[in-house]
Structures are given as C-alpha cells and as structure tokens.
Symmetry: C4
Subunit: 243 residues, 4 copies
C-alpha cells in the first residue's frame, strides 16, 4: 500500500504537468502504472487530469477489472492492459494529445526521420499506428505490430502514447516526442530539417540498441557513408544519451 | 447563498485559468452561471478576469437586471440572458478569445471538419456564427439558428462561446475548441488534416446524440462506406468519450 | 511616499507578468509611472524585470535626472520623459518585445487593419514608428508625429510601446497588441483575416473617440456602406468595450 | 563552500527556469559554473533539470574529474571543460534545446542576420557550429574556430550553447537567442525580416566591441551608407544595451 501511495502521488504530479504544459485539456489523456503485485493503477475517466489527488486513482486487476468502489477508470483501460501483457518490461504508460505531435498524427505523417540525435539515440523513431475508435477494443490492435520495438507511438488522428519504466520516464518520452514534432515542423517551414548522416544515424541506433528499426527510418539520399561502421574516436567515451 | 458562494469561487478559479492559459488578456472574456433560483451570476465589466475574487461577481435577474449595488456586469449580459432563455439545460457560459480559434473566426472559417474523434464525439462540430457588434442587441441573434444543436460557437471576428452544465464544463469545451483549432491549423500547414471516414464520423455523431448536425459537416470525398451502420465489435463496449 | 509605494509594488507585479507571459527576456523592457508630484518612477537598467522588488525602482525628475542613489535607470529614460511631456493625460508607460508584434515591427508592417472590434473600438490601430537606435536621443522623435492620437506603437525593428492611465492599463494594451498580432498572423496564414466592414469600423472608431485616425486605416475594398452613419438599433445600448 | 552554495542554489533556479520556460524537456540540457578555486560545478546526468536541488550538483576538477561521490556529471562535461580552458573570462555555461533556435540548427541556418539591435549590440550574431555526436570528444572541436569571438552558438542538429560571467547571464543570452530565432522565423513568414542598415549594424557592433565579426554577418544589399562612421548625435549619450 505504501509503494502504491508513492506511485499515486507521482501520478497526480505527472497529471498536473501534462495539463500545465498543455499536453492535454478538458478530460483528455490518461496515465497508468503496473504495481509490484501486478495490479494496475489508472487515472479516472471524465475529469481534468491536472487536478487529481492521489486518492482519485483506481486500482484494477491485470485484466482491467476495477477492484475498488470508486470512480470509473479511463475508457482506454483495454489499451493499457494489452500493452502491459505484451511488454513485461513496461511499468508505466502515458497517453496525451500534445499539439504538434497530434497534428502529425492527424496529417497521417510518422516521426521516423533521423534528425535529432536525442531522438535517434533514445526512442529511435516514433511510428504512426493506424486509426481505431478511442476506447474501442480495436485500438490495442493498432499497436500490435509496433509494440515489440518502439516506446513511443503516434495514434492516427488521436495523439501520442509512450511507455516506460516509471511515470516520469513515460512522461519525459512524451515531452521529447512533442518537442521533436515541433522542431521538425518549424525547421521544415524554414527550408527543411537536415537529416543526420546515415553513418551517424546507424551509430546512434546501435548505441540505443535499436538497430532492429533501421529499415523503418527515412534515410537521406545515400551520402556515401551509409555502410560505415562505428566511428573511430568520437564514441569510445560517450557517456550515453543522458545530458 | 452558500451554493452561490461555491459558484462564485469556481468562477474566480475558471477566470484565473482563462488568463493563465492565455485565452484572454486585458479585460477580455466573460463567464456566467445560472443559479438554482434562476438568477444569473456574471463577471464584472472592465477588469482582468484572471484576478477576480468571489465577491466581485454580480447577481442579476434572468432578464439581466443588476440586483445588487456593485460593479457593472459584463457588456455581453444580453448575450448570456438570451442563451439561458433559449437553452433550459444550460447553466454556465464561457466566452473568451483563444488565439487559434479566434483566428479561424477572423478568417471566416468554421471548425466543422470531422478530424478529431474527441471533437466529433462530444461537440460534433463548431459552427461560425455571423458578425454583430460585441455588446450589441444584435449579437444574440447571430446564434439563434445554431443554439438548439451546438454547445460551442465561433463568433465571427470576435472569439469563442461555449455553454455547459457547469463553469468547468463550459471552460473545458472552450479549451477543446482551441486545441482543435491549433491542431487543425498545424496539420493543414504540413500537408493537410486527414478527415475521419464518413462511417466513423457518423458513428461518433450517433453516440454523441448529434446526428442532427450530420448535414452540416464537411465530409471527405465519399470513401465508399458513407452509408455504413454502426461497426460490429469495436463500439459495443465503448465507455464513451471521457478518456 | 505611500502612493509611491503602491505604484512601486504594482510596477514589480507588472514586471513579473511581462516576464512570465514571455513579453520580455534577459534584461529587456522597461516600465515607468508619473507620480502625483510629477516625478517619474522607472525600472532599473540591466536586470531581469521579472524579479524586481518595489525598492528596486528609481525616482527621477520630470527631466529624467536621477533623484536617489541607487541603480541606473532604464536606458530608455529619454523616451519616457519625452512622452510624459507630450501627453499630459498619460501616467504610465510600458515597453516590451512581445514575439508577434515585434515580428511585425521587424518586417516593417504596421497593425492598422480593422479586423478585431476590440482593437478598433479601443486602440483604433497600432502604427509603425520609424527606426532609431534604442536608447538614443533620436528615438523619441520617431513617435512625435503619432503621439497625439495613438496609445500603442510598434517601434521599427525593436518592439512595442504603450501608454495608459495606470501600469496595468498600459500592460493590458501591450497584451492586446500582441494578441492582435498573433491572431492576424495566423488568420493570414489560413486564407486571410477578413476586415470589418467600413461601416462597422467607423462606428467603432466613433465610439472610441478615434475618428481622427480613420484616414490611416487600411480599409477593405469599398463594401458599399462606407459612408453609412451609425447603425440604428444595435449600438444605442452598447455598454462600451469592456467585456 | 559558501560561495559554492550560492552558485548551487542559482544553478537549481536557472535549471527550473529552463524547464518552466520550455527550453528543455526530459533529461535535456546542462549547466556549469567555474568556481573561484578553478573547480567546476556541473549538473548531473540523466535527470530533469527543472527539479534539481542545490545538493544535486557535482564538483569536478578543471579537467572534468569527479571530485565527490555522487551522481554522474553531465555527459557534455568535455565540452564544458574545453570552453573553460579556451575562455578564461567565462565562468558559466548554459546548454539547452529551445524550440526555434534548435529548429534553425536542424535546418542548418545560422542566426547571423543583423535584424534586432538587441542582438547586434550584445551578442553580435549567433554562428552555426558543425555537427558532432552529443557527448563525444569531437564536439568541443566544432566550437574551436568560433569560441574566441562569440558568446552564443547554434550546435548543428542539436541546440544552443551560451557562455557568460554568471549562470543568469548565460541563461539570459540563451533566452535572447531563442527570442531572436522566433521573431525572425515569424517575420520571415510575413514577408521578410528587414535588416538594420549597414551603418547602424556597424555602429552597434563597434559599441559592443564586436567589429571582429563584421565580416561574418549577412549584410543587406548595400544601402549607400555602408562605410559610414559613427552617427553624430544619436549615440553620444547612449547608456549601452541594458534597457
């Protein structure tokens, strides 16, 4: 119960940040966490997630059955439980509608261009999942082909979903996606975001352990170094991508 | 008086959010609520709505006559009283000038494209009401043809108005309109917001009880499923649009 | 000294809003107020105006001579004193660099299009003053031809200046200018901000007591009502432009 | 230890502003300061810089060796130590990813156009440094040719770095760069940012002591005054560029 209490408090805090930093409005968005005992803690439905109190969160079984007698859990419960079953390493999920990333999802454009090293070296890329009605049983299926190798997704016409090892981790990924979307949009308006070289992109993917998505990125026209191996001296001492 | 006190406090809080989240500036915007006894509580005129105290609000009759001896009520009082008479279900009104939605109103473009499920499945669409001078007796008339079937309106060259069952509900609708306007603007710059299918649009309208506006939406070129009935399995268990 | 203390506190508060709402950064911007005894209170030079304390403000004579032994007054002191001599009705001045209005000033485009009734009915329009080096003795001269009939100005390649009857009044005008600039920019990107009719524009100018600038607005191609007198019923009961 | 304590507190405060004003997200960005004894205080790696406490900062030698037993220092430590060795006048460094300036860095466009007097008269211009992997030993080299005559840099595909005489000074420069980037982007969309005259640009550079970069600016097509000396009367009494 005490571990759960800390997670409840973190969920309230992350909800507050989601609203304060304008990634949601109205009753949008939802957060969940998998507790050590396998149960799922999730935000309630129909309320502004910026003003939640720790006691407002709802405990459910791993199958999404409500285990206490409070408010209704998020209508996206089925999406959360499906992800926790697919990805045993995931213990937190964040879904929101940040402006620029949602605009990409509405335009039907994925964020798979290798432009920012802090994206390529962490998330790799952000694919676009197909459309299904929010809250429907079809929605989890749109992630089925992607869930094994990505941690952040554009949901077509709908928003962004990220997974992580803590609520803050999932939230940080969501903000990173939105920042990338916004930078990309602006750079494209001023003449075009320049892609990283194929060599650097592969090096970053390799470091991030994400070479399995290399075929899904939009590479720049071959710059003649596409097949290069790891650079000689500049990476041997990299401390990873943590700034 | 106590019920009224809670509503006064909520009005101050919603005014604060309107300013803090940049939906108003200067002395723009106004809020009102219909009290259980039919009287109307409304924000004062000529002050920044971000710094109101509960005691600053003004009590008026259902006809807009000031009932106490305080500041002047909002110059849009006539608009508020007209709406309360037309719509017996409405108990709160929010009017503000959020940037992107106001830009649409200034460009003379309604927000009636079925693009985001959280718009189609709640507000349906946001029509553009004709222009009349702010504060004038002509202004309520611009809503007369729309008031029976919409909860959110672009006021031509002027801003946004929303109605709801509470001040928070009306405010949430206003933020949702602004978010939609902003996402649509950006998606259109990056290649075009993709409409939902006709089938999905109709399903969402039906669930929202808004099939009466189906003829007012800008549907995409027929995708061959335009006359489809409700989908088979994906909606039977939808928990509605509350996230 | 007590009246001055209240104004010092208001100046600190308005400085905080300028920074928090992103109308300035670094050491940009300045505020001043004319005290009842004719002296001028002004923000210090070289510091972030978002973190001022009441005691940080500097008292100067009407000619801009520093009267106490504190920090240096704003380098724009000469601009402030010139305005106070020209405009006896002005008791506060706000100068900042809000993003969109400054972009208009940098593009060399004035904000004199009659698009938003809350601009036409209050400020009338916002002209573009010529360029002079910030802090120079030439800068006041760029306003000389405009100062008698406007309360808000774009300073070419530099920012925005507003005058008012209180610091909050001048600040509110600055926010209104920035909001207008932003709405206009976005509406122009989505197909073009639609001007108010010539008739409505003249009615609003007349109510605002600003018919003296009617020749300086960019009117729409004549809509056939350009010479119309005041409308019949919609204005007789207008409560002014205070929302 | 007490001087260090004040700097630790300032570092926490500037970190908070970086996040609150949206110049970083996730675990992005880093800050450092050179202490009076030559040691370097730097932000830790892998955490959100908006929530640092004074005790979270890490003390390192001038060569970047960690001197206490806490978290890992920023992965950009090598970049910071190289700068401190090159520039004996610098005592603080700020690195972040503000949206618009990072978009310029991603589009491969420097900010060397003489458009805003508060840029030309302080930073002069903001050059674009070449790309190297974040955290790599190659990264400092990209600044080697620029470090002697600039205080702010776009790092290709990566973000912004500024140096200063205090953390607040470096942070203020970063905000100024971002503001300039944003104003320039918007002005270019509305018809083009107008450059300052060659004469005024040179006067501002001269006052800022930055005539050594005059050859690196993008001057407007010669306006006939390109070789003019300092203006006669408008600058003799300028109080500098501090507002």
């Amino acid at each position: 119960m005490n571990a759960s209490l800390l997670i409840r408090a973190e969920m309230a805090e992350i909800g507050r940040r989601l609203y304060e930093r304008n990634h949601i409005c109205g009753t949008e968005g939802n957060l969940s966490a998998r507790l050590p005992d396998g149960k799922i803690l999730i935000t309630p439905s129909g309320v502004n997630k910026g003003y939640l109190k720790p006691g407002d969160m709802i405990i459910c079984s791993a199958d999404g059955e409500k285990l206490d007698d409070t408010c209704e859990p998020s209508s996206e419960m089925k999406l959360h439980t499906a992800i926790y079953k697919w990805r045993k390493d995931v213990t937190a999920i964040c879904h929101a509608h940040p402006i620029y990333a949602t605009a990409y999802s509405v335009a039907g454009i994925s964020l798979n261009r290798p432009v920012l090293p802090e994206i390529v070296g962490t998330l790799g890329a952000i694919p676009l999942a197909g459309y299904a009605s929010p809250g429907s049983t079809d929605l989890p299926g749109t992630l089925a082909d992607l869930i094994d190798r990505y941690d952040a997704y554009l949901l077509k016409s709908h928003g962004v979903l990220t997974v992580g090892k803590s609520l803050e981790d999932a939230f940080n990924k969501l903000e990173l996606v939105e920042r990338f979307a916004r930078i990309l949009f602006i750079a494209d308006r001023m003449g075009g975001a320049k892609p990283l070289s194929t060599k650097e992109t592969k090096r970053l993917l390799r470091e991030a352990g994400r070479m399995n998505i290399v075929g899904e990125l939009e590479f720049p026209p071959d710059d003649g170094k596409g097949s290069a191996s790891a650079p000689k001296k500049s990476t041997s001492d990299r401390a990873g991508y943590r700034q």
